[in-house]
């Protein structure tokens, strides 16, 4: 394993440990160290990705290792931003382990240098991939906020104030943060899909080719669009919104990985081992 990659993983792991201890001891400095460790890991990760990009000359999404690494990078970055903005400290106990987990999986995968593909060098493609990844990272956080919401709501409804009752913030904050994640994620994802369409037009001459990945992306997009619509018109919030955020992310996971493993299409290379 490259030393930089190892450093990245170590920082992510330390951050996870920091957040886990924070969960138990509730000392603010632990949460802060978790945050800064993750930020440091993220910076190293950025450098590592940039280096790969420059060295190989193509955007690093040509195999599953690179794709997962980019996904972890996006989740870490989006989490850091949201944490900075919303201060939902406890979300770190979801985000840090998730980032670490994805990175560890990625690091264990073979890193075969792929034959140069000229199609991986268009600006549209880079924008498309980055936007989709950042958007989906935000939706991953929405799923985390949703899980925490359900946990806390169950605490309050069942009147059994357990371990998490004290440690989790108010329903309102969880709901609000989840919503903000979805709005952000949805917007960026939409942008990513549009650039994808434009890119497809420039390469294959048509916007849409009924590729399974495209179809499932469309389904994902419609699902989140419906969720936002319901929220804006009927005030779908709380429990239902939380469950939808979790289902939505499950669909994203399928679109992201499942489609490539079970179905075929022109997005196949991303997950090639």
């Amino acid at each position: 394993m490259e030393p930089v990659l190892l450093v990245v993983i170590i920082f992510y792991m330390l951050s996870t440990i920091g957040y886990l201890i924070y969960l138990f001891l509730q000392k603010d400095y632990l949460q802060k160290s978790g945050f800064y460790l993750l930020a440091t890991g993220f910076l190293c990760h950025t450098v590592e990705l940039g280096y790969q990009f420059v060295q190989s000359g193509h955007f690093p999404v040509s195999n599953l290792y690179e794709t997962l690494s980019l996904a972890a990078w996006a989740i870490a970055g989006v989490f850091l931003l949201f944490q900075y903005r919303y201060r939902l400290k406890i979300l770190g106990i979801y985000a840090a382990p998730l980032v670490t987990f994805v990175m560890v999986i990625a690091a264990r995968l073979p890193k075969v240098p792929s034959e140069t593909q000229t199609i991986l060098n268009s600006v549209w493609l880079v924008v498309h991939v980055v936007a989709i990844f950042i958007g989906e990272a935000a939706l991953a956080l929405a799923c985390g906020a949703g899980l925490l919401y359900l946990l806390q709501e169950n605490n309050i409804k069942s009147k059994k104030r357990g371990f998490f009752f004290k440690r989790l913030p108010s329903l309102e904050l969880l709901d609000h943060t989840g919503y903000a994640c979805i709005v952000t994620g949805f917007t960026i994802m939409t942008f990513g899909l549009i650039t994808g369409l434009i890119y497809a037009k420039s390469i294959w001459g048509r916007f849409w080719s009924w590729d399974p990945k495209e179809v499932w992306s469309g389904i994902t997009w419609l699902l989140y669009a419906a969720l936002l619509h319901q929220r804006l018109t009927f005030g779908w919030r709380g429990r239902r919104a939380a469950i939808m955020a979790i289902i939505g992310f499950a669909v994203i996971l399928f679109t992201f990985l499942g489609v490539n493993f079970f179905l075929k299409g022109h997005h196949g290379d991303f997950t090639r081992l």
């Binding site: 309050i156 009147k159 108010s170 329903l171 309102e172 709380g238």
Partner: protein
Amino acid sequence: MGSMLDIVLLGLNHKTASVALRECLAISEDETSVALKAFQELPAIREVMLFSTCNRVEVLMIVQEKKNAVGAVKDFLSELKQLPVSEFEKSLYIHEGDDAVRHVFRVAASLDSMVVGEPQILGQIKEAYQMAATKKTSGVLLNKLLHRTFFVAKRIRTETGIGDNAVSISYAAVELGRKIFGTFEGKKVLLIGAGEMAELAVEHLIRNRAEDILVANRTFETGVDLAMKFKGQAIRFDEIENALKQVDIIISSTGSPNYVVTRDHVKGIARRRHNRPLFFIDIAVPRDIDPEINRLSNSYVYDIDDLQGIVDENVEDRNKEAIKGERIVDEAVISFRRWYENLEVTPTIVELRKKIEEVAKGELKKTQHTLRHLSADDIMAINRMTDAMVNKILHDPTMLLKSNERHQEKSVYLDVTRKLFKLDNNTS
């Protein structure tokens, strides 16, 4: 300096005295000032402060002569309150030295309170100390002791959880609300009925910046009065269903035998409310709020038993945290004792030096008389030599006394030093 001054605390509290007796002996601010003045004039008492709350009356003093001081305080209380000493003597506790210090620390840290961790007591002690300071009845020892006390109390509050979590029904309700809404800013509250606990809860909410208060009462007039009190709006009882569309928190405390708010009421309005959460606090027995409402989405119902359950749990948590507090108190008592003993060390060292220097000077003088042929320079040289000898002789004993030895050993050394050099006979 002969025997050490004693720290003595005399008092009674909710554990030793009945409410009736505590009421009888409660001392007002004016009486406190009179009492301090009277105590100040007693030769047995060097420093004194006095505090009285609804749960305790305590006199903390630095005394020269314990027996006289305690007797005088008892007599004074008896005279002030027109109550024979025998009536309250059995309820009194008298602590001395470390025990007195520990007691003050525990009281200030609210470890000795009826509800462990209640925050008022520290403020009350601060006021009592201020009073003693302005009346100049506190001195070096009390100043030091009280500053330590405040420090210890603060440390216990920040390092343990004795002040965490609500221990009253209305606070418990407010804290729950915080877990639902985060903040009460801009939230609307509906009070149905009336009652001390319910009104207290409304007050807590207002203090936490809840904005609009609606009051519904069977007797509209009572509702209007209550609404005035909360700067809110009175509504008629049959308007409750309609009001549910706009409020966020409902506190109910009526004598109604049936549910005042039913599941159907709430189910019908969820959409109109855009599914904003509704929090019902049901303080009434029999209950006012249909418990089935808790099953509806974004609606939460807590009745008095639920809230009492929380309070009980919290009290238990506080008691657990109090154990940590006791440990901090023990540490502080030891560290205070060290300081106190060092107070005693310094005069001993000074007296010892004085004695040796006197001996040296006396002998020097005698010698000078017999050796008249010495020049001024020679005498100077002999003086310097004597000074150096005194310093060298005293150096090791001084270092030993000043060292941070264990306190028992230290008091032994002090005692031996005073005896070896007959320091006590010197001064008396």
